[in-house]
Symmetry: C2
Subunit: 239 residues, 2 copies
Amino acid sequence: MPNSDPVIPLEARSQGRGRPGGDKSRARILATAGELFAERGFNGVSTRELAKAADVNVSTIAYYFRGKKGLYRAVFKQLIEDTNPFFLPTTAHICQGVINAGSDKQKLASLTRWLIQALLEGVLSEDTIRWQMGLMLREYHQPTDGFSILMENRVNPMHDAVAGLVAAATDREPEASETVLLTCCLIGQCMAFGAARGLVLARLGWDSFEAGDLPQVVDTVTRAALAMLGLLEESADVA
Amino acid sequence: MPNSDPVIPLEARSQGRGRPGGDKSRARILATAGELFAERGFNGVSTRELAKAADVNVSTIAYYFRGKKGLYRAVFKQLIEDTNPFFLPTTAHICQGVINAGSDKQKLASLTRWLIQALLEGVLSEDTIRWQMGLMLREYHQPTDGFSILMENRVNPMHDAVAGLVAAATDREPEASETVLLTCCLIGQCMAFGAARGLVLARLGWDSFEAGDLPQVVDTVTRAALAMLGLLEESADVA
DNA sequence: CTATTAAAAACAATCGTTCGATTGAAAAAA
DNA sequence: TTTTTTCAATCGAACGATTGTTTTTAATAG
């Protein structure tokens, strides 16, 4: 009985024994589920369709993830892990940058430019990060099992880092409610471009940000961000 | 046969005859469906649960709306109608305000203040408008039947109006891509507060915007908006 | 009586989940 | 080396529950 209670294959195993390909199937389910859940939500995807898309049997989902809900949660954990190589250096660079800048407004301005560019290119990119945005936005407005994972691993670290930048730029405390609000403005503005991606493209008359002029988007949003922080005059003009 | 093809009870009828309560049942379904769809999405709500919540029989949904999909579309049409009393004066006031202001930056600044306040209070209010925001945000990122209705009746008119304000403030053309992008920043920023409502409250440590300090939110976002438009120095200080 | 509204019952389809059986390769025994 | 054992991995079939829809029947007002 491979599926009895004590033996829970929630994590990858494949310790040599048994049939090969286990990890591959698990990973394939995880990747497919991420895209489909992001596109149509938890209730919008059936286990059968998912299994078909991932080219596995329906029961494999229960085998690896204890059911649909477990799979959903696993997708978020995987998402966190996959985006760490982008996310962790970004937040670290901001935190370190604020320390290095001290009260040098010019350094803070270039750090802000760097932040906006990193956020927007992440949010507007064509590849993996995009459907991950979809999952996140869904959880933000309709919190389910994934929300706490996101809040703990993504939202809080990023907001804390950016709050440090905002506080330094506006000469306030990082905990001040004005700082928190301005941080929400800054990050929320970049997120809004990812959330309303289709809307923005429609308004611009573009087919995609690649076909259009992504640097111009970055430039405009960066100017707006610098202005919000009162760093516009401190900043050298952007090309 | 009340549901034959030519006789489509998509609109309210109740011409006096028949069993009483016709319009009431229809309106009750519509209101209940709006809240539930906003909360859990189209696939997250079953017709049976909906009928139970609206205190009608399941078949009544098919009778009035030709099925679940028809009900969903009807909810959006109703949403547009219900929010017209708030939306139409707002956009009209912006358009007229831009004409009246001409190139007077001070007038444009106070118009901007008025706009941000109107948007934020709409987006963050506790009442009806809130679940309507939920429906809209859902459609933005996962366009279904409601998207075209929203784009035509809400997005485009509001963006066109605000683009006029942005263009006047930054001395550009309303059609310029910089104008369009800045407009997306401005509106998107306010929408972000509605979309990530729970996130913002969590970061602020507030229970609700009423329990917290809504005017402070408005004030901070307004300053950010004025800065983005280069109108901060033109503006008298906010109390 | 006729038209309209409402409810109850039944419909086929699909849902998430579970089950026992089977596969194939590594590990152990011969 | 060959044979046997073990076990993760996979499969097909089926479960009961629930889905959206339709049909049938009852009730009410003009």
